[in-house]
């Protein structure tokens, strides 16, 4: 925007000419412009809905208590269509709508977590003809309707409402990420749409669930029931001290908070806690401090973007605590492909291993055979899959596409899924159904080491030192 002195005069002359026509903004022009735009907007508004349907009486008088709970005081009369459409058209498919981050920073999670699951699962179900709906006396295949919310919460809420209100999808599948769940759950609940979540889950959602009867959370998390199991394992091996690095957001705060409660219970002293800003590039100061503290256990409660450099830096600096626990990141196949055999002994969160049962192996084969190793996710994938299975079985058991009835089935009944006997307790997937909580990389396999009764291998403690080339 800087101008050279010599050309300034000439330019200001030109600009003056330009300005003469624009500055004298007459009333006429203004009104014309505004009217034009207004008319344009009206046309645009009319375009997507050529036949405006009768007014939708959705009285949403919602009252909020002081805490983050959304309680409905006035229950609305029939919100949006439930199952069977009023049109004469025969129902020949189940339309499932989703707002997913197909672009933007969350795409990396969505693409590797829920997407491979639902794609494989839907194909499997449709190949078998679809879901049996008793009341219509036939099997209906599933049709997916996916929108890109650009990893933006505001867009996601708007698209969720579009799916429910305009596209009138039969069912809603979840958005990606804990904060997205927080934003989406009240909406799904308000319109009476069952929402079985996939990626995301946090302690704080436990408080919300009672007021959100339509929402069901599948993913395991800190105190449900990972960290208590971890603390047990560590205490048993005689670990006495820990150093925690956590990412400065909901996830990290929660995990570090829960650790702060569970660890001391089992006699583990926390020597240091460091918060990492999400954009941190260089973790060496934190690792060095952890090293200096000489703690037995090192915990990194963050995301792949931090856990990978944390691992790398630990290797570079030769930091070898007796136990190295990492959050989301360690449980993915790309952790192994990135670091190779060096990860021997690193611990993380998990749910299953192909060794545990025939069904587990079948699932692993279905999802991972013939595909690049990076896509493996030993923590989330079985839970999301189980969630979908429960959803399908609930529809079949309820015999209808009516959300309320399906909700009731999901709330009360047990289901047989890839995890075995699975059910929801207060909206959360029962921890007894979890076939694993803590995992450890041993000989290039992510073994389940805790809880003991579900373990596929014994915990190796202390962790072998990083290899030095």
């Amino acid at each position: 925007m800087s101008e050279n002195g010599s050309t300034e005069l000439a330019e200001s002359e030109n600009k003056k000419e330009e300005r003469m026509s624009t500055k004298h903004l007459t009333r006429r022009e203004f009104i014309r412009g505004a009217a034009l735009t207004g008319a344009g907007l009206v046309v645009a508004a009319c375009a997507p809905a050529p036949t405006p349907p009768p007014p939708q009486v959705v009285k949403e008088t919602v009252v909020v208590a002081g805490t983050p709970q959304i309680v409905e005081k006035i229950i609305t009369p029939t919100p949006v269509p439930t199952a069977v459409p009023t049109k004469a058209a025969v129902k020949d498919k189940i339309v499932v709508g989703m707002s997913r981050p197909l672009s933007g920073p969350l795409a990396q999670i969505g693409d590797s977590a829920f997407k491979p699951i639902y794609e494989t699962w839907v194909k499997e179900v449709n190949d078998a003809g679809g879901i049996q709906v008793k009341e219509l006396n036939k099997k209906l295949p599933i049709e997916l309707k996916v929108y890109d919310d650009k990893s933006d919460v505001g867009t996601m809420t708007r698209l969720t409402e579009k799916l429910i209100v305009e596209d009138k999808v039969d069912f809603l599948w979840p958005g990606c990420g804990t904060s997205f769940i927080f934003a989406q759950a009240p909406i799904a609940n308000k319109y009476g749409y069952v929402l079985v979540t996939a990626e995301g889950g946090a302690t704080s959602i436990k408080d919300m669930l009672p007021s959100l009867p339509y929402v069901f959370v599948t993913l395991s998390f800190s105190d449900w029931y990972q960290l208590p199991v971890f603390a047990d394992l560590m205490a048993e091996k005689g670990a006495k001290t820990a150093f925690i690095a956590y990412i400065a957001d909901l996830h990290g705060i929660e995990y570090s908070g829960v650790a702060g409660i569970e660890f001391p219970k089992k006699g583990i002293n926390i020597l240091g806690v460091k918060s990492l800003p999400p954009d941190i590039k260089d973790l060496s100061p934190v690792i060095k401090e952890a090293k200096a503290s000489n703690a037995d256990i090192f915990c990194c409660f963050a995301y792949p973007d931090q856990i990978m450099p944390a691992t790398g830096t630990s290797m570079e600096l030769g930091y070898n605590p007796k136990a190295w626990l990492g959050g989301p990141g360690v449980n993915f196949g790309f952790y192994a492909t990135t670091f190779g055999p060096a990860i021997e002994g690193v611990m993380g969160f998990t749910t299953f291993s192909a060794k545990q049962s025939a069904t587990a192996k079948a699932l692993a084969d279905k999802l991972y055979t013939g595909k690049p190793r990076e896509l493996q996710d030993w923590w989330g994938h079985p839970l999301y899959w189980a969630g979908l299975e429960m959803w399908k079985q609930a529809i079949e058991k309820a015999g209808t596409l009516n959300q309320e009835k399906i909700r009731d089935v999901l709330t009360k009944e047990h289901f047989n899924t890839v995890l075995g006997d699975t059910w929801f307790v207060n909206g959360l997937l029962a921890k007894e159904s979890h076939t694993g909580e803590i995992g450890q990389w041993q000989k290039d396999q992510f073994e389940v080491v805790g809880p003991k009764n579900k373990a596929t291998a014994a915990l190796v403690y202390p962790k072998p030192a990083w290899p030095t080339k």
Partner: protein, 325 residues
């Protein structure tokens, strides 16, 4: 310009305007719910763009602070939403943003051009990171829930903000202030020499433009349900108004409005119809628009209307009123 004589043409336009206003007012009663929701989002884009243009248009100071003002509005809503009535919250959101603008504007008096732009951008990131750190270490909050407001109310409030904004923008542009702002844009030193209080004018206009952005943020937050510093202070909301304004064209008053509308609608179309290619298509359209429509959509419209006029003139027309433009 002869203000007294009201021509038939002006009456017709005024009538059209009135009809448009009534149509929008009746929207929630007769239009499908999602259309209203989408319109609310488009209104928000227009507000962001037009309020940006109020300051950055005439003065030439490219501001990348809209995200900061928007975020302040969002946070106001999150913090005060449960305690105060909605309209007050919206107004407070706007005022808080104005205060931020006054503060930031006051600081950056001497910065010009690219430095001003980068500074305002830094402001967004600074507030975001500071707020995150503060929330973790002092208030212990992990995200906030915003009160829920029904879609029709949000629509009306947003529409009201938009109308007031358009009026304000028009009045500023038509008044002495607009003239003064323009002269600051042309040659700030000369403007100071002829007695314009450049400092005060810049800061005040900056604050005025921030007010609307903040108010829009405050009301929009109620649609988002859940927010945290990263969601509220998203740098993308700083770039978007600039893009939309230039896309629309800065020459005419209605340029930014058209730019924002088309932009918003285009985005909606792309994320729903072509979800996996949204960025590619969007980016391509942007590049093509910049390369072939250097004056934005306004330039395109002007070319088209000029051509239409030539066509009209080439036909034998009885006593056509000379349009000396």
């Amino acid at each position: 310009m002869n203000r007294v004589r009201v021509s038939l043409k002006q009456l017709l336009w005024l009538g059209l305007l009135g009809v448009v206003l009534i149509l929008f007012g009746l929207g929630p009663r007769y239009a499908p719910m999602y259309t209203i929701i989408l319109l609310t989002a488009i209104f928000m884009y227009i507000i962001l763009t037009l309020s940006w243009v109020i300051f950055s248009g005439p003065t030439g100071y490219v501001s990348l602070a809209p995200a900061a003002f928007f975020g302040v509005g969002i946070y106001t809503s999150a913090i005060l939403g449960k305690a105060l009535p909605l309209l007050i919250v919206v107004a407070v959101g706007g005022l808080a943003s104005s205060c931020l603008a006054l503060f930031a504007g006051g600081l950056t008096l001497r910065l010009k051009g690219i430095y001003f732009a980068i500074f305002t951008f830094g402001l967004v990131e600074l507030i975001k990171n500071l707020l995150l750190w503060w929330e973790i270490h002092f208030t212990g909050t992990r995200g906030r829930f915003v009160i829920v407001v029904d879609y029709a109310t949000v629509y009306y409030v947003m529409f009201a903000i938009l109308v007031v904004l358009i009026l304000t923008a028009y009045l500023i542009r038509r008044s002495k202030f607009g003239l003064a702002l323009q002269s600051i844009g042309d040659n700030e030193q000369a403007a100071a020499h002829i007695g314009i209080n450049v400092t005060a004018l810049k800061v005040v206009t900056f604050a005025v433009s921030a007010f609307f952005t903040g108010a829009a943020g405050a009301i929009m937050a109620t649609r988002w349900t859940y927010i945290d510093p990263y969601i509220a202070f998203n740098p993308l909301f700083s770039f978007m108004p600039v893009l939309m304004a230039i896309f629309g064209g800065l020459g005419q008053f209605y340029g930014p409005i058209i730019g924002a509308t088309i932009f918003g609608y285009l985005e909606e179309l792309l994320i729903t119809r072509f979800p996996y290619y949204y960025m590619l298509l969007f980016g391509t359209i942007m590049v093509v628009a910049i390369l072939y429509l250097p004056n934005g959509l306004v330039g395109l419209i002007q070319k088209v209307t000029a051509r239409l006029r030539v066509l009209a003139r080439s036909q034998p027309a009885p006593a056509a009123t000379s349009e000396a433009k």
